[in-house]
């Protein structure tokens, strides 16, 4: 059997990125500020992790306005959804194998 560790995505190897992906999986779109409150990280930290996910094509950025204020929201892409599911499956596999 294949080693499930190979299925783990390097990109998701961070609490912040896992948090971002988890929140985006269950919501159509989440704003930058909501993510900040949920994960409780600094602006810069969150922005750099979002950037990394965006560059991998896992996260989509939607820039909009609420009144005159910019309102940036994020949503998950098809590729991101697939990759995240694989990642969770791999985690599960690892737990099962060690549990045996």
């Amino acid at each position: 059997m294949k080693n499930p560790i190979e299925q783990l995505q390097k990109v998701f190897d961070s609490r912040v990125r896992l948090g971002i992906m988890s929140a985006l999986m269950v919501n159509d779109e989440v704003s930058f500020n909501e993510l900040k409150e949920l994960i409780q990280v600094t602006d810069g930290n969150l922005a750099s992790h979002l950037k990394a996910l965006e560059e991998n094509g896992f996260v989509k950025v939607n820039k909009g306005f609420v009144g005159r204020k910019t309102n940036t929201t994020y949503s998950v892409t098809k590729a991101g959804e697939k990759a995240f599911r694989l990642h969770i499956d791999a985690l599960e596999q690892m737990i099962k194998q060690v549990g045996k």
Binding site: N27, E37, I88, M94, V98
Partner: protein, 221 residues
Amino acid sequence: MNSQNQSLETLADIKKMMDRSSRFISLSGLSGVAAGTCALVGAWFAKSVIDGGGKTGPRSMSELNGSYDTVGIGMLKSFMGNRLFLIAGITLAAAFVLALLFTYIRSSKQGIPVWGVMAKRLMWNVALPMMAGGIFLLKLIEAGVYGLIAPGCLIFYGLALVNGAKYTLGEIRYLGYVLILLGLINCWFPGYGLYFWAAGFGVLHIVYGIVMWNKYERKSL
């Protein structure tokens, strides 16, 4: 073993984040208990008003609640009807304020904004069936169908809870189911509206609140 624990922790984190980002989980069990207590006190006052009015003649509670004809309209517009409306209004306001207070306390403990996106989504989904139901019930009062008001309250409120359960702690769904059932049964016993009302809004809320408090909040004390 270590990697197993790590994976488990990661999965637990993911699950927590999914819940936190899609549901308003600060709804406190104590809110349920407080709202239920208000409802019982309100029902007690209402009963004393109705019983007090009953002394002047055979106009018992069952007649007030159960009359499908228009005999009751004059009565409702009278002093007693106004008192009942006042009691209902105060009860609702007190229950709402107290419920909000306990939930506010819990959410600030958890570090979750009380008026965040999740709370707004929950409010909207609960308010929609309630408002539609409320307007419908006002029309029922206008039509003089008092017997169906208590069951109507229970049914619409139950539907609102079931609808809102997707956006908060899921267990509230069961409270909704029981309230709907109680409301439907009440349709066939129009004379006992106040008792059904007290059982549904009072007793059931207190029971639900205690169960939820036990399950989620006792540990964190």
